[in-house]
Symmetry: C2
Subunit: 381 residues, 2 copies
């Protein structure tokens, strides 16, 4: 068997053509034709009020932190089982991060543990839709409303995934809180190497977002002819990516339906074939709550012990299959552990120790998927 | 005559090929093959200790602000006649910006005015090599040494430009202070649409820079096999650009000598042909001090009055020649004017009001340059 990598970026075939066109346009700095086309496409796909491409999801989170005006001392509630950027973006603005545990049935944040962490200083809840699976947004939005908090959805992994309200209405992840962020890093379903987007759902942030995106200047309004010269009106950074990134991304966004169909096929193959092991209670599979959809970003298993996971990863590696663990709890990281308030976040640590992600990408043939499945079944028999 | 634009990005011809290769490599996230090639090339070109590509010069400045550990209340001395990012990068970390005026003979910072602004809270001098023309680094480095300050060189416009020490030794701009930053925005001599680099000259920052660049994680050390898993060890952001940006940029860096030769040819044409007007005292041309070199980033004129400048720009525009003014003094911007301490920064305002930049790009033929020159001479006759 050939080697099966954990991830291998997919090309739709149009990327090269659009890159050439962007270069031929003779204007490859940010906010050009392809950037605008991506913005429209993202608004159409998610139903957000305004979308702005960024150089990374990290940068989109940093924009969100600036927009909700995080100041030193403000508290932000964030899951511990997430990527460092979810926290760093707010720490860079001086926030005190208060980490919340994962659910018992899912690595996503334990919504029921959030309210006890709210203090007078709390300014925002940052929920992370782990593996593209929705947090319980009804619970989160209700707490936010009652306690007057902002909600930022870190939807890095959650493109084309939805939350279903009790009345049956579906809303794209990232389009529910005041703002949401997407990642287009090459490990994501839709990618451009390095990239992201800020989705704005709250009208009050639309105008300022554009200014902060353009280094704190009103240049976007200037280009639209609304003012006759542009100047320094706010803090900001250079959050906008080049047209090279936007052109590449647009090719992927155009073909998102095909990409999603294929990924879901692979995900379902894993899920069906591993069902017997799961039914026997030997491993735990991803839990998709009734209010969530599956965007097939990730297929993971949860082993019984860290030792079992290490053995499984080694066993697969010896057979040229690259499976990997995921986040280390942020509350016990070298950077944060001394700042943490000492609460045990048992489930976050548990997923850090026991979760393993299986290869899932568009270059996997049916045989590849079957081979991974057969190897796992062999390990457990 | 055809329309003569102020800037039109130049392609060396290899960009497309390298973009295709990056895409074919199947790995277009950051810190890949082309990124490493750009790093080596920048170290070779500038003599810095370590170079790290960034998504913009803005981001490189933000990295510098994090590395020198800017905290709320720290003061940073910055010229008022610069782009907003020079200031924003430090303000985002809580710095109090103290603006310094321009020289009388050049829009660059008045080195002789710096020391009077140093207080016990001053942490850094950020010098900007306006138009790619060196600040007097001997003066600045001497103040910094004596008063124990960091020096960050904003060399956004200054690739392939040098400072000559009294002993005749030449040093690339950006490689003299503790750190320097370059821009590869499409308006620059060497460009990739949106991009930049941090040049580190002070060994103490090399290791931490790599961590901050990788979102506050020790992932770079992990990839080199120095540690067996990577985690959150510091603050940071996603400063690294994709391989798309790096591949494009590498094509430009490879051909920097040819680009520079051609730009200097155009610059010299302007300078020679406009000499009579300059000699008559009708306009002022760019001053290149004896310790500085000319990288032909910009050819500008300084008119006698704002009204004369407005007339000249209109006159040129009516004849399809796009000439533009430049920075508005940051100390009197809508964002900052209430924070400014009230000092008059006469020269900065004066260059804001009277400086005009002429078209200068690689698509200009000799006829184009001659046409711009003839039109200016006609305006003044």
């Amino acid at each position: 068997m050939k080697k099966i990598s954990f991830n291998r970026p997919f090309l739709t075939g149009k990327e090269k053509q659009y890159l050439e066109k962007a270069v031929a346009n003779g204007m490859i700095s940010g906010n050009g034709e392809y950037t605008k086309m991506c913005h429209s496409k993202l608004v159409e796909m998610t139903g957000c009020k305004k979308a702005l491409l960024t150089t990374s999801c990290t940068d989109a989170l940093e924009m969100a932190a600036i927009l909700i005006d995080i100041n030193p001392g403000d508290e932000v509630i964030i899951p511990s089982f997430t990527f460092v950027s979810t926290a760093n973006a707010f720490i860079l603005r001086g926030a005190k991060v208060v980490f919340v545990d994962s659910r018992t049935d899912h690595p996503g944040m334990d919504e029921s543990a959030v309210e006890a962490l709210v203090t007078e200083k709390t300014k925002a809840i940052v929920c992370v839709h782990y593996a593209g699976v929705a947090c319980d947004m009804q619970v989160i939005m209700e707490i936010a409303k009652r306690r007057n908090l902002f909600v930022v959805e870190d939807a890095a992994q959650a493109i084309d995934s939805y939350y279903t309200w009790p009345d049956g209405r579906k809303q794209a992840l990232g389009s529910i809180g005041n703002m949401g962020t997407l990642s287009f890093h090459e490990t994501k379903n839709i990618q451009c190497g390095e990239g992201g987007a800020l989705l704005i759902n709250d009208e009050q942030f639309c105008k300022r977002a554009e200014i902060i995106w353009e280094k704190g200047t009103n240049r976007a309004a200037f280009w639209r002819g609304e003012i006759d010269k542009y100047g320094w009106v706010d803090i900001g950074s250079s959050f906008l990516p080049s047209e090279l990134s936007a052109a590449f991304l647009f090719a992927q966004l155009e073909q998102s339906e095909e990409i999603q169909r294929e990924r879901i096929r692979i995900w379902d193959s894993y899920d069906n074939a591993l069902a017997p092991l799961i039914d026997k209670g030997m491993i735990t599979k991803p839990h998709i709550p009734a209010y969530a959809t599956n965007n097939a970003h990730m297929y993971y298993l949860v082993c019984k012990t860290p030792e079992e996971r290490a053995s499984l990863i080694s066993y697969l590696k010896e057979r040229d299959i690259h499976a990997v663990f995921h986040y280390l709890s942020l509350h016990s990281s070298p950077y944060f552990h001394k700042q943490h308030d000492g609460r045990k976040l048992v489930m976050s640590d548990s997923f850090s120790d026991r979760l393993v992600r299986l290869p899932l990408h568009m270059h996997m043939s049916e045989e590849d998927v079957d081979h991974v499945i057969a190897t796992i079944i062999k390990f457990y028999s």
